[in-house]
């Protein structure tokens, strides 16, 4: 087993579940999130020799997951448009619909999907992964000021949407 193989396995044990859940917050689809994170692990393995510091691997994985989630959403949009052209009606529920059936979960994920992309990414990194402003800035390649603005607008937009569920006894 190479160094990269061993490192990848440790990273998998430590981060797989959390990264998939992060991607679910971004793409709202468990199956797609698993694909995104799996691809991120494979990409990391390919580039392992190029990493200056293996300690940065979790940050690299995180960044790859966010970027690939963004691409997946865009690709999904293209696919959906294509399907709509082909069939007009495509009412089949996604394969993981039962998993996402819980109404509170759906409300949160739907609310996130309605936000502009940057706001959604900042909120997921800040409130799910608990990253600092500078870590978020580095992950997304934006300034700390922009992180602050997106976080404040995103959370302001999210609170009223989610208020009914907070009253449910959260």
């Amino acid at each position: 087993m190479s160094d990269a193989d061993a490192a990848l396995e440790s990273l998998y044990v430590a981060h797989w579940d959390q990264l998939v859940r992060l991607s679910v917050l971004l793409v709202r689809d468990l199956g797609q999130a698993e694909e995104v994170v799996q691809d991120a692990f494979v990409e990391l393995h390919k580039r392992w020799a190029l990493l200056d510091d293996p300690g940065r691997a979790p940050a690299y994985l995180r960044q790859t997951v966010v970027n690939r989630s963004r691409s997946a959403l865009r690709h999904r949009g293209v696919v959906q448009r294509h399907l709509a052209r082909q069939h007009r009606v495509d009412d089949a529920a996604p394969a993981d619909e039962p998993v996402l059936a819980d109404s509170r979960r759906r409300a949160v994920l739907d609310a996130l999907q309605r936000l502009p992309r940057r706001q959604r990414e900042v909120l997921a990194l800040r409130y799910y992964l608990d990253l600092s402003e500078s870590e978020i800035a580095e992950t997304l390649g934006i300034s700390r000021g922009a992180v602050k603005s997106h976080a404040s607008r995103g959370s302001a937009a999210l609170r009223p949407l989610l208020a009914p569920h907070q009253k449910d006894g959260l």
Partner: protein
């Protein structure tokens, strides 16, 4: 009462923490396995290579066959193009430059329009958009019209139509009327309305730029009743104005070079507006190092 940040933390956690991702380690191992474990039969060689294979066949399989699912060379990656995209603030349109893949005009125009969809959206958090995700399908230029095929039934209300008209006309460098073809079969034609463009717009810097000594700010004024002078302010992290002044407009454009070498490092806001109309401002947040 709990802190609002804790509520959001709990809310996002509750939404996904009980999801159990399937185990994909086996699949990852398979995809990252050393190439030597993958076998490619010699018969995969084409007849044309058969002669060479007599001498170097094994090496050829070893050398070429192992590239497997490697990514294509970076040199083949598409180049990028900058497009102006229009977003809404205070019932006016503001232009923000974004990067899309280079390509034919219609492709760049469609890529620019897709930046107006809420899933992409503006970099500047002050701006909003009226277009939902999946709103744009195709751009076709024909018969002195720009046709935009939509993935939604109709053009959203408000300034959405003008957002798209200004964006697509800017990319195509044409002021031809824009016909929106709704998914439900509707068709509406829109002309450019210059009255909804913000009187002053910052083109450069982009939101969030970090600067050292000099902050160069450039922008345009609206062609409809353009202001002849504009005022500017630099506000420190507390919102206090630390520098201000005015500058003239020439050929609908203006520029400023602000000396920020004496400012304490931090997050500043540069604001520009028509002289005497501070409510019609455009702002950018910059970081002074």
């Amino acid at each position: 009462m709990s802190h609002p940040d804790d509520d959001l933390r709990r809310l996002l956690g509750d939404a996904v923490d009980d999801l159990t991702p399937r185990d994909r380690l086996g699949e990852i191992r398979r995809r990252t396995a050393p190439p030597a474990r993958r076998r490619r039969p010699l018969v995969a060689l084409s007849a044309g290579l058969a002669t060479a294979a007599v001498v170097g066949g094994i090496a050829l399989v070893g050398g070429l066959g192992l590239r497997g699912d490697d990514e294509p060379p970076v040199a083949g990656a598409p180049k990028e193009a900058v497009v102006g995209t229009y977003f809404v603030k205070d019932a006016l349109l503001y232009r923000e430059f974004q990067v899309v893949d280079a390509g034919p005009d219609a492709d760049r125009a469609l890529a620019a329009l897709r930046r107006l969809e809420v899933d992409a959206g503006p970099e500047d958090p002050d701006y909003t958009t009226g277009w939902p995700d999946g709103a744009f399908r195709e751009v076709v230029v024909a018969n002195e019209r720009i046709a935009v095929r939509l993935g939604v039934d109709a053009v959203p209300s408000g300034l959405a139509a003008q957002q798209a008209v200004h964006t697509v006309q800017g990319v195509l460098q044409s002021t031809a009327p824009v016909v929106f073809l709704g998914a439900g079969g509707t068709s509406t034609e829109h002309l450019r309305d210059n009255r909804v463009v913000a009187p002053v717009n910052i083109s450069d810097p982009v939101e969030g730029l970090a600067v050292g000594d000099v902050l160069a700010v450039r922008g345009r004024v609206a062609p409809h009743q353009p202001p002849r002078r504009i005022a500017w302010q630099l506000r420190d992290p507390s919102g206090r104005v630390v520098q201000d002044g005015t500058t003239s407009v020439a050929d609908l454009a203006w520029s400023l070079d602000l000396d920020v070498s004496g400012e304490t490092p931090g997050r500043y806001v540069v604001a520009v507006f028509p002289l005497g109309r501070p409510a019609s401002d455009d702002t950018r947040t910059v970081t002074v190092r």
